[in-house]
């Protein structure tokens, strides 16, 4: 089979070539080389300039600390929750909630959170003035707080569903029930038993996803701009500002900063890795001591509470955004708008059409390509009877681990040189880099778990391989394929930095518009855009779950 081989090659090219080119394109200007802007010799001057900027040390430290805190919190919440609740009804029910939570773009979740927790936000309105006595918002610096706690919260509520999803995919490969009984029979608490026996193999499977969270949190722009500190902002936010400055010399500084960003992310990963070893050693020590931790009910409740809270933040945030989008005058401390109106929507819909079409268009094309490439790669596995090794998995995760900003700067230079700046093709390709890994990760498990005996029967009846694929495997895996496509679609809709830089302001999506309009600070506008931003992925997931139900309504065994 030649086709899958080509596809595999192509996938490799799509994942690795832009990354390498982008990094080179960032590194050259960082050391002063970019002839079009007059940089014709290598110099370390721009690094010196970078480190001389006011507050740069604080920006770097802040970026590092918030990323680490985000990852540690998200991971702890997820692992304790899974340890305490895996195999229960509550756990099974939550599995259905995870996809929509994951689908919501980061920016929308951040806006929703801001409108909930700000001093003028919904939560305080609910209890004012009757409980708090406030008739004006108090002067608490909650959003944009100097320590970045609001930003960490905003990231954690989005990373918890992601880690949960990855964990759900890994759990079936563990002997959950037997192990739990074994641990319980020796008198270990639920959480302790899981941590001693199952956490190590589980962590081995989700480790790359945790790294991806750390890398993402250390280089995120949109969430940081919405919730993060401002004086100074985190490193990635400042890099983007310098990139857009009319003083073109600052682009060299931005490139130098993008390399520092890469080092920052890699050091965060290294520190995490060191922490892994430390925690592992500690756990073995505690385990050898025979501590049972039987009274873990409080911890179980706490973890359930935190997971519920993060889901609450997302859903309540969405509800507030929807409410803002139809709000007229809405003064503090009123819990509800003084008046409801459709005027905001009527005003904004004509302007939204173009970005909306671009969003859907780019997301559909990049997702379709990603699904086809993934199918090609996975089919090759089937034909060769070999599972992709660790190398391949690392490769797939590469675009999720290398900070976006470090190689998209370089890619932007590339698009300017090739004249493909602000072209649809370039935008689709850059989205594909990030959509592909997610589609691959979502689809590979169901694909590999497929019962091959169906195919053997078909083959025994003399059906050629490609027809087996078309008539037997693909229809049976349609639900999984559509779900993977919905994940890819959501990822594309949520892309901020690649769209801003490669779209060059001419190709705008709902996400870039939402962040751009956020500077006006008007809840109504933000409400409309963030609501649409959330709606698109939800629609994707709705189609993914409804279409198979309709198509297979006469096939009893394929129903849910």
């Amino acid at each position: 089979m030649l086709l899958p081989r080509i596809i595999r090659g192509l996938t490799f090219v799509i994942l690795v070539v832009p990354l390498v080119c982008g990094l080179v394109g960032t590194a050259l200007p960082a050391f002063g080389y970019l002839p079009t802007l007059g940089g014709d010799h290598l110099t370390l001057h721009f690094f010196a300039d970078l480190f001389a900027r006011p507050g740069i040390g604080r920006s770097i430290l802040l970026t590092f600390a918030t990323a680490f805190m985000t990852t540690a919190l998200s991971f702890l919440v997820v692992i304790v929750f899974v340890a305490g609740w895996a195999g229960t009804h509550a756990f099974a029910r939550l599995q259905h909630l995870v996809s929509p939570l994951l689908a919501l773009p980061h920016a929308a979740a951040a806006f929703g959170l801001a409108f909930l927790i700000a001093p003028s936000g919904f939560l305080l309105r609910l209890v004012s003035p009757w409980l708090t006595g406030f008739d004006r918002p108090p002067g608490w610096l909650i959003v944009h707080d100097p320590l970045g706690l609001a930003m960490v919260t905003g990231l954690v509520v989005k990373e918890v569903p992601f880690l949960l999803l990855v964990t759900f995919a890994a759990l079936p490969q563990l002997r959950l029930e037997q192990t739990r009984r074994l641990a319980a029979s020796f008198g270990y608490g639920r959480i302790a038993g899981f941590s001693y026996l199952l956490a190590p193999p589980l962590y081995g499977q989700i480790r790359l996803a945790v790294y991806a969270v750390l890398a993402y949190a250390s280089s995120v722009v949109d969430v940081s701009a919405i919730l993060g500190p401002t004086l100074p902002a985190t490193l990635p936010v400042r890099l983007l500002q310098w990139m857009n400055d009319p003083d073109l010399a600052l682009r060299f500084v931005a490139s130098a900063g993008a390399l520092v960003q890469l080092v920052l992310t890699l050091s965060a990963l290294a520190l995490w890795w060191a922490a892994e070893c430390g925690v592992g050693r500690l756990a073995r020590f505690v385990c050898a001591g025979g501590a049972r931790f039987r009274r873990d009910a409080w911890l179980r409740s706490l973890s359930l509470g935190l997971v519920t809270l993060s889901a609450f933040f997302i859903f309540a945030g969405m509800a507030i955004l929807a409410l803002w989008s139809v709000a007229g005058l809405w003064q503090f401390p009123n819990a509800l708008p003084n008046e409801l109106t459709m005027r905001n929507w009527a005003r904004h819909l004509p302007q939204i059409t173009t970005p909306l079409i671009t969003t859907v268009y780019v997301a559909l094309i990049s997702t379709t390509l990603a699904v086809l490439l993934t199918l090609g790669c996975l089919e090759r596995e089937v034909v060769w009877g070999r599972r992709a090794g660790h190398m391949v998995l690392t490769l797939i995760y590469l675009p999720l681990i290398v900070p976006q900003i470090s190689f998209i700067f370089g890619l932007q230079v590339l698009t300017i040189i090739t004249g493909t700046e602000a072209s649809l093709v370039a935008l689709v390709l850059v989205h594909l880099i990030f959509v592909l890994p997610y589609v691959f990760l979502s689809l590979s498990d169901p694909w590999r778990a497929y019962d091959r005996r169906y195919e053997l029967i078909a083959a025994a009846l003399g059906v050629p391989r490609w027809r087996v694929l078309m008539r037997v495997r693909l229809p049976m895996l349609l639900r999984a394929i559509l779900t993977a496509a919905a994940v890819g679609f959501a990822v594309s809709v949520g892309q901020y930095l690649p769209t801003v830089l490669i779209g060059a302001g001419r190709l705008t999506t709902i996400t870039t518009e939402a962040v751009a309009l956020a500077s006006g600070g008007d809840g109504r506008v933000i409400g409309i855009y963030a609501f649409l931003q959330a709606l698109l992925p939800f629609l994707g997931f709705a189609i993914a779950s409804l279409a198979p139900a309709l198509l297979f309504r006469h096939r009893g065994a394929l129903r849910v």
Binding site: P54, G139, P146, P232, I416, E513
Partner: protein
């Protein structure tokens, strides 16, 4: 196969069209019918500060009108700072992209205009005064031809006037307590801790506030209109920064965070987080009341000694791809119809640059009948206009501010 060949053919056709249009004649505004016919089918990428709803709405309305009447498309490229648009043109030039550039029209004035003019980044020769609708423009107003001390030379066409005006909620703040100059504002802020703030420069409204304070505190006002002298800059801005140091502990969040931009301050006024806000448009509050964003009790005030005022323009970069359509757009912006729509607080409320005497009778009546809104001061009460300083002050003040307050302690 057929569909592929169709795609290829259409792709080639598109490429050809692009090539032809790039080579098309440079439009000459004195041959207006030719400009109009050349404009047809073009797409104007209009780079504009996108932080205000009203403005975005107006730009969208303009786009619809032009599509209907002249058959070209207008796409607003929303920038967070006009400097970003300048950066794009500079980058184009650096990359040798001297035709078919990425920006067709920029909403611009002040330091950005001067920067582009100095680097020869504008479409020349000057075209603004050759536009058919130039005949309506109020040329007695010096700011339509002199932008921050810099002659426009017809390189940009005016489309609105701005004046710094303050707003308060009469339901929460007594009129008698309102400040009448920067010094009194400081006293007011001290008496009402946390109820005043300004957008962090380089957000232009923040910079405008700084320039207002600087002007009031300067002994020798003539310095304001001369280029910044690096040697004496520190000495001249010392009163400003001493003022800012004094007011900082009484700012919203003690100056550890600043409002994103002036539209964000409107909701903060509605919520009562801030007691006094300001904008560059006398109708801002009326317009916001109309849109249900501010309570009906909000009113305007200004300083009797005068506040900053200027004119804002549109300009065409030298390498714009759609120069003809950009010219038609600029001309439409100074039509009585567009100016009337723009001045209506229901849409934007931005003051016109046209001279009433020059307008046809029916338009004079329409403008005269336009209700400016409950919260808008009549022109007679707006107070004197303080002209903008030399453009070099803007960047210098912004840089000094960032150095001093860009990292909170």
């Amino acid at each position: 196969m057929r569909s592929i060949s169709t795609v290829i053919t259409s792709g080639v056709t598109l490429a050809l069209i692009a090539a032809v249009s790039a080579r098309a004649q440079t439009p000459d505004p004195s041959d207006w019918p030719a400009v109009v016919s050349q404009a047809k089918g073009e797409t104007v990428y209009w780079n504009a500060w996108g932080g205000s709803d009203n403005v975005n709405d107006f730009i969208a309305w303009t786009g619809r009108q032009l599509q209907k009447r002249y058959g070209f498309k207008v796409v607003e490229v929303k920038v967070a700072d006009t400097a970003e648009a300048v950066a794009k043109v500079v980058a184009d030039k650096a990359a040798g992209k001297n035709t078919d550039g990425s920006v067709d029209l920029i909403w611009i004035n002040g330091e950005n205009f001067v920067a582009m003019k100095k680097q020869n980044l504008f479409f020349t020769p000057g075209w603004a005064t050759k536009l058919p609708n130039w005949k309506y423009v109020d040329t007695r107003n010096p700011t339509v031809t002199t932008d921050f001390n810099e002659p426009t030379d017809g390189l940009e066409s005016p489309w609105g006037n701005a004046k710094l005006v303050f707003f308060y909620d009469s339901a929460r703040t007594k009129k008698a307590d309102l400040p009448n100059n920067a010094e009194q504002l400081l006293a007011w802020a001290k008496a009402h801790p946390g109820r005043f703030s300004y957008p962090a420069p380089p957000a232009f409204m923040g910079t405008t506030f700084l320039k207002q304070v600087l002007y009031e505190l300067m002994d020798d006002k003539s310095k304001f209109y001369k280029p910044v002298d690096k040697m004496s800059f520190k000495q001249y801005v010392a009163p400003l920064f001493s003022y800012l140091d004094q007011i900082k502990p009484y700012l919203w969040h003690e100056g550890r965070d600043y409002p994103k931009d002036y539209p964000a301050m409107k909701q903060m006024l509605a919520d009562g987080s801030l007691g006094i806000i300001f904008a560059f448009n006398p109708s801002e509050a009326s317009s916001a009341i109309e849109a249900g964003k501010l309570p009906k009790t909000v009113r305007s005030f200004t300083f009797s000694g005068g506040t900053l005022g200027n004119t804002h323009f549109v300009a065409i970069p030298y390498n714009a791809a759609a120069k003809a359509a950009a010219l038609v757009l600029a001309n439409f912006l100074i039509s009585p119809e567009a100016q009337f729509h723009k001045q209506n607080p229901e849409y934007w409320g931005d003051p016109t640059v046209l001279s009433m005497q020059k307008l046809p009778g029916e338009w004079q009546k329409k403008f005269a009948a336009l209700k400016l809104g409950v919260a808008t001061l009549p022109p007679s009460e707006l107070g004197p206009i303080i002209r903008e300083p030399d453009a070099s002050w803007t960047d210098a003040i912004e840089a000094a501010w960032k150095k001093r307050y860009g990292v909170a302690h």
